[in-house]
Amino acid sequence: MITDKYLMATAGGALIGTASVMLLWLNGRVAGVSGILNGSFSRKWSETSWRIAFLVGLIAGGLLYQWITGAPLIERSDFPTWMTVVAGLLVGYGTRLGNGCTSGHGVCGVSRLSMRSIAATITFVLVGMLVATGISKVIS
C-alpha cells in the first residue's frame, strides 16, 4: 500500500509533466494554473478561449478519474468554511502578486531552471510547512 502511494505519486507527476510539455509544444504556453485562471477573464476571445478550455480539461480530468476508479477525490467534509475562505483569499492574492503557484513556478518554472521560480517554490513550501505545522499544533 505504501509503495502503491509513491507509485501513484510518480505516475501522476509524470502525467502533469507530460501535460505541461504538451501545452508548451502545441500552444507555446506555460501550464501555470493561477496565471491561466487570471488570464481567462480577459476580453479577447483568442486570449480567454484556450485558457477556459484548459480549466474545463482540469475538471474533466477529475471527473474521468472518479469515473474510472470510483474513488473520491476529496475525503474530508468537515473542514471549517471560514478557513477555506481565508485560504482561498490568501492563495488568490499571493499567486497574483508572486506571478505563479505550484504548477507555474513549482513544475514549469523549476524545469526551466528559472531562479525566480526556484526561489518562489522554496518560499511557498517552507512557509506552507511552517503554517500547516503550526495550525496542527494549535488544533491538537
Binding site: A9, W25, V56, T133
Partner: protein
Amino acid sequence: MSSNWKKILAALLSGLIFGLGLAVSGLANPDNVLQFLVLSSDWSPALLFVMGAGILVSIAGYKWVLHRGPVLEDKLQLPSNNKLDRSLLTGAAIFGVGWGFAGFCPGPAIVGLSTGMAEPFVFVAALIVGSQIQRLASSS
C-alpha cells in the same frame, strides 16, 4: 479547422491530462497535501515524488520544445522577467500561508470542482476574489 480551435483543443487535452495527473497523484486531495506540509510523525514525502516526476519529464520535454519551437504559435511565450524582487517573494510567502491553511492550491482546487462538493467551490470563489483584490490594489 481554424488555428484558434486547434489551440482550444490542445489546451483542453493538456488540461485533461494535467487534471488526471493531479487526481492520480493524490494531490487533488488536500489531506495528502497537508500530510506533506505538516511536519509530524505522520509526514509523507509523496508530494516530492509528484513534483520530482513532473519536473524530470518537463526538463526533458522543454529542452526538446525550446529546440524546435511551438506547433500552433509563431514563438514560445515564456516569462521574460528573471529578477528576484520583493513582490515575487512576498506573493510566494502569502500563497504559502494560504496553502498551509487548507492544503489547497489553484490546480487541485479546480480539479476538485469535479466532485460537486461545496469546499472546492468556496475555495475557487475566494481565490478569484483574492486575485482581483491584488489586481485592484496594484493598479490604484
